[in-house]
Symmetry: C2
Subunit: 126 residues, 2 copies
DNA sequence: TTTTAACTTGCGAATCACTTGCAAATTACG
DNA sequence: CGTAATTTGCAAGTGATTCGCAAGTTAAAA
């Protein structure tokens, strides 16, 4: 683990919500080149230390977000007003996914889920 | 409905799986400019005639895929070998989504789900 | 410890999927 | 028709991400 990779992994570990490559590039803009950040993310995802998903929001456009990988994966809610994520807890879709997989004879190796809307804090402010 | 918009909507109606903007640009490359295709897609999605989701695959990169919108939305499986979609049927996540929404006090207005892996046809070929 | 091979990084250019400005072409409508 | 509103093509612009390559580091061999 090089210094750049360690720093990227630490930043994602400390963040309590998914972090985009762009956010990491901003955070480390005086330390590492964006190409290095992107390469570190690929490296870490290849080593199964990170999971990622792509999400589009009006404010930030289409970006890939990264979270620590653990055995028990979780899903996220994205607020369309404040653009923060809320943890939806551990995945509860395993049974349904297994059911769909069986029905169609598919070998499902992964799934992506996220919800969007307005978070409680933003709803209050309306 | 202009001619371009009609043609785009027809193409998506006839396709029995999600269609990417790029596929439509290729299909209509002698008829319409890509900008027109993209604008037609935005128009149709704004008029609630289309739904879309973003998916990344190794072969085609990150693209937005479009399907006809109906009251009952459905979810899709994407084969990482042949890059075709399989219909997973109508959404079965409503209860779980309502549950997550209630637990966190979120106003969930939409969710995205898709699964990836290998389809039966491709599995046979191995 | 020097030698050498392997890997990592920064920088600049390139890609790729869109998006936008603007003038020309269509369409809507009084 | 005659004019206003909308749509389209073309070319240029964006923004996220990727790539080539030479320089910097690290690791392994001798
Ligand atoms: Mn899950
Ligand atoms: Mn659903
Ligand atoms: Zn919010
Ligand atoms: Zn397949």
């Amino acid at each position: 683990m090089t210094k750049a990779r360690t720093h990227v992994l630490e930043a994602i570990t400390q963040a309590k919500e998914p972090v985009s490559a762009r956010q990491l590039c901003e955070k480390f803009q005086s330390d590492y080149d964006p190409a290095t950040i992107y390469r570190a993310l690929h490296y870490l995802e290849g080593k199964d230390r990170l999971d990622s998903f792509i999400l589009h929001c009006s404010e930030h456009g289409t970006e890939r977000y990264y979270v620590l990988r653990s055995n028990e994966h979780r899903h996220w809610f994205h607020c369309e007003r404040c653009h923060r994520f809320t943890d939806l807890g551990l995945c509860r879709f395993d049974d349904l996914v297994a059911q769909m997989s069986a029905e169609k004879g598919l070998a499902i190796t992964s799934h992506t889920f996220y919800a969007t809307g307005i978070c409680p804090e933003c709803r209050q402010k309306i």
